[in-house]
């Protein structure tokens, strides 16, 4: 294009010069004409003078003028005049001749130069034609679609590729017809940016879809550049569309893939990061910053190490040194949790990214919070230990109860009956202990109701036909107390049913309880078991045996295990038992797990 432009300019300069020469020639011809007019004017005058002279001669010959001297003088004067006119004519003729010669010379020179210039113009034109031909050939050869528009943006030329590519589907692309070849979704934006480019006079570039002959659309990169004359005025626009379809689709897929990756990575609970050899991080997910409070850039290289517990850093560095040979990275270490202001246990894993058979490009890693898991594992371990301890302890208690029941039984039948009762009481309290909501204590009202319900019918208010339960609900019991207290209540209740108040139709059992001596850190539960309405009773009949298991539980076991103060005796109407024992202030079990 620049060559053609140069030639065009050269040709124009040449034409201008010829024009100037032509003007000069016209001026010379005009001058010549003027000189010729002057000569003609002189000639006419000479001829007039000649005639005058001849007339004068004839007049002298015919008649002798009277005053011959007068005539003679007149004649001499005319001759003088004529001579002077001749002389003038002579000069003029010489001048004219000179001018004619000069004109002739100039004409010749002009002809020569015009001929020379014409030759040059012809040569340039030929060259121009050849250059334009080459350009057209090149324009049709390149794979790009090319077109040209005028300064207003109306297309006036398309290369062959345009027609080959768009095929029969394409409407006439001239003017703004080319817009029809663009994807419907791209047209509006294309027209807008095109209008903008024309208005601003600046090149524009955009990616648009152009319909191919087969009806499919392909992505093109379209660039338009203005062409300017010497004054800088835009005379035309040239546009080139390069097929970037595969690249565009690839980029789109990559962007989507990148988007999916980010969405996935940023949505997962793990802290995700990328690193190069030696554990030098190149990127960390937003979770990392949210979790540790460390800025993303600060985590780069080995900055992330600062967020690990000082005692775990060597371990992490060592794990990285082994990673390339091992083909994977795995280590555990504590990471600082900004929100809690403490370190939490994390499991860090990473896999290398590499092309098949190629070297490791980078590592993709995750750090997973396993703190809760480890805590749960530790808790589970404790629970398993506890279960083992409790199971074996309960078996030992069963063994002890069996031994005592055996001692006080007169027959195998009696043993079987009593032992089964006590085993069930033990089973009930195990159920009560395991049914309670986790972390909550067994309450006294639940315990006493459970034991009494096994023997008598109670309504929702704790009232039975011969039984009244009275006391605040929700008094928590120490775990250590629950089993022994349950067994003691069971012995009292069994005794009441068999020998005491509940064995007679008019007997009554009142169980009252209350909190006494409340202090900030110590509450005491006072339990009052009172039987009444007994007739014709004897102590030995209605009281638990003095060396028996029930009395042992109340008088020895409760004081031994819980420093309880207890009494057991006979009042006017029947058995009276009191138990005064410390109970916890809160209803939640403390940190340690009670046995």
């Amino acid at each position: 294009m620049p060559d053609q432009a140069d030639s065009t300019v050269g040709g124009r300069i040449l034409l201008d010069e010829i024009e100037q020469l032509r003007t000069a020639l016209e001026a010379a011809i005009e001058e010549n004409d003027r000189l010729a007019e002057d000569r003609d004017r002189l000639l006419r005058r000479v001829s007039a003078l000649s005639r005058d002279l001849q007339t004068a001669h004839a007049a002298r010959a015919e008649a002798t003028p009277a005053p011959a001297a007068q005539v003679r003088e007149h004649q001499n004067q005319a001759e003088m005049e004529l001579r002077s006119a001749f002389e003038e004519l002579q000069v003029l003729t010489e001048e004219l001749e000179l001018a004619n010669n000069s004109l002739h010379h100039t004409n010749q020179e002009l002809d020569a130069r015009i001929e020379e210039r014409t030759c040059q113009i012809q040569e340039i034109s030929a060259a121009l034609r050849s250059t334009e031909g080459s350009l057209r050939t090149v324009a049709d050869l390149v794979p790009d679609l090319l077109w040209r528009t005028d300064a207003a943006g109306e297309a006036d030329w398309f290369n062959q590729r345009w027609f080959e590519y768009t095929g029969d589907y394409a409407a006439d692309p001239l003017g703004k017809g080319w817009i029809e070849a663009l994807h419907p979704l791209d047209r509006e934006s294309a027209l807008a940016s095109w209008a903008q480019a024309i208005k601003a006079g600046t090149p524009c570039q955009q990616q648009k879809r152009i319909r191919a002959a087969d009806g499919d659309y392909r992505w093109f990169l379209i660039r338009a550049e203005p062409m300017r004359d010497e004054q800088g005025t835009i005379t035309a626009w040239f546009a080139a569309a390069t097929d970037v379809h595969e690249h565009h689709i690839g980029m789109e897929a990559l962007q989507q893939s990148e988007l999916r990756f980010r969405t996935l990575v940023e949505g997962m609970p793990q802290l995700v990061w990328r690193a190069i050899e030696g554990g030098k991080w190149t990127w960390s997910s937003p979770q990392w910053t949210r979790y540790t409070g460390q800025k993303e850039e600060a985590s780069h290289a080995t900055g992330w190490l600062d967020m690990f517990h000082p005692d775990d850093r060597d371990h992490a560095v060592e794990a990285w040194s082994r990673a390339p040979d091992a083909g994977s990275l795995e280590f555990e270490g504590r990471i600082f949790h900004a929100a809690e202001g403490r370190y939490r246990h994390f499991r860090t894993l990473a896999s290398p990214v590499h092309l098949p058979e190629g070297p490791i490009l980078e590592w993709l890693g995750t750090s997973t919070d396993v703190d809760d898991l480890l805590q749960l594992q530790a808790q589970q371990e404790i629970l398993v230990k506890e279960l083992q301890h409790r199971t074996r302890n309960v078996m030992a208690v069963v063994q002890a109860v069996a031994g005592r029941t055996l001692k006080e039984s007169q027959s195998l039948e009696q043993f079987a009956e009593r032992f089964e009762d006590r085993l069930q009481a033990l089973a009930r309290v195990q159920g009560l202990l395991s049914r309670r909501a986790s972390g909550l204590r067994v309450t006294f009202d639940a315990l006493v109701r459970e034991e009494l319900s096994a023997l008598v019918t109670l309504d929702a208010d704790g009232k039975g036909r011969q039984v009244t339960l009275r006391g605040p609900a929700g008094v928590p019991l120490k775990s250590a107390l629950v089993q022994t207290l349950a067994l003691a209540l069971h012995e009292l209740a069994t005794n009441a049913v068999k020998h005491g108040a509940l064995s007679q139709p008019d007997g009554h059992l009142d169980i009252c309880w209350e909190i006494r001596e409340p202090k900030a850190d110590e509450h005491r539960l006072f339990i009052d078991w009172r039987e009444s309405g007994m007739k014709g009773m004897r102590d030995s009949d209605v009281l638990p045996q003095s060396d028996g298991y029930g009395r042992e539980l109340i008088e020895r076991a409760l004081p031994y295990q819980l420093r309880a103060r207890t009494t057991l005796g006979i009042d006017a109407g029947g058995v009276h038992c009191t138990i005064d024992v410390q109970v916890p202030v809160g209803d939640r079990i403390g940190e340690k797990i009670d046995g």
């Binding site: 083992q388 301890h389 074996r392 030992a396 063994q399 250590a480 020895r556």
Partner: protein, 129 residues
């Protein structure tokens, strides 16, 4: 009834469950031993140890209603008093320093207890045999 094989031995019992502590005390008493305690808690046990000059042996339940008996065990180790753990725990549940401490696994048969303990005990009376 039983042979007085533990005659003169002063044996501490730390057991939170009354029935078990009571049974154990009876067995050791029958075997001729002098029972120290029984006591149900770490606090009571440490008090007893501090105030008792002569202790030949101890039987310790490991879990005393949620409190581990280990401070008591350490106090006994400091005084070179041998002891056994009477427990439902396996070895792995114990701190490493107590791995070599003999264990009496619950439930044990009281009547066989003294014969199990004898090889572990060297108290004053036995040494004079």
């Amino acid at each position: 009834m039983a042979s007085q094989t533990l005659q003169g031995c002063r044996i501490l019992i730390v057991e939170d469950e009354f029935l078990l502590a009571d049974d154990l005390a009876h067995v050791l008493d029958d075997a001729g031993a002098t029972v120290l305690g029984p006591v149900p808690s770490v606090r009571d046990a440490l008090e007893l140890i501090a105030g008792e000059k002569a202790i030949d042996f101890a039987v310790l339940e490991v879990n005393l209603h949620g409190d581990m008996v280990f401070p008591v065990a350490d106090a006994l180790v400091a005084r070179s008093v041998p002891f056994v753990f009477a427990t439902g725990y396996d070895e792995w549940s114990l701190p490493e320093r107590f791995f070599t401490v003999p264990r009496l696994e619950k439930p044990f048969r009281p009547e066989r207890l003294s014969s199990k303990l004898e090889p572990l005990i060297s108290c004053g009376a036995q040494q004079h045999h």
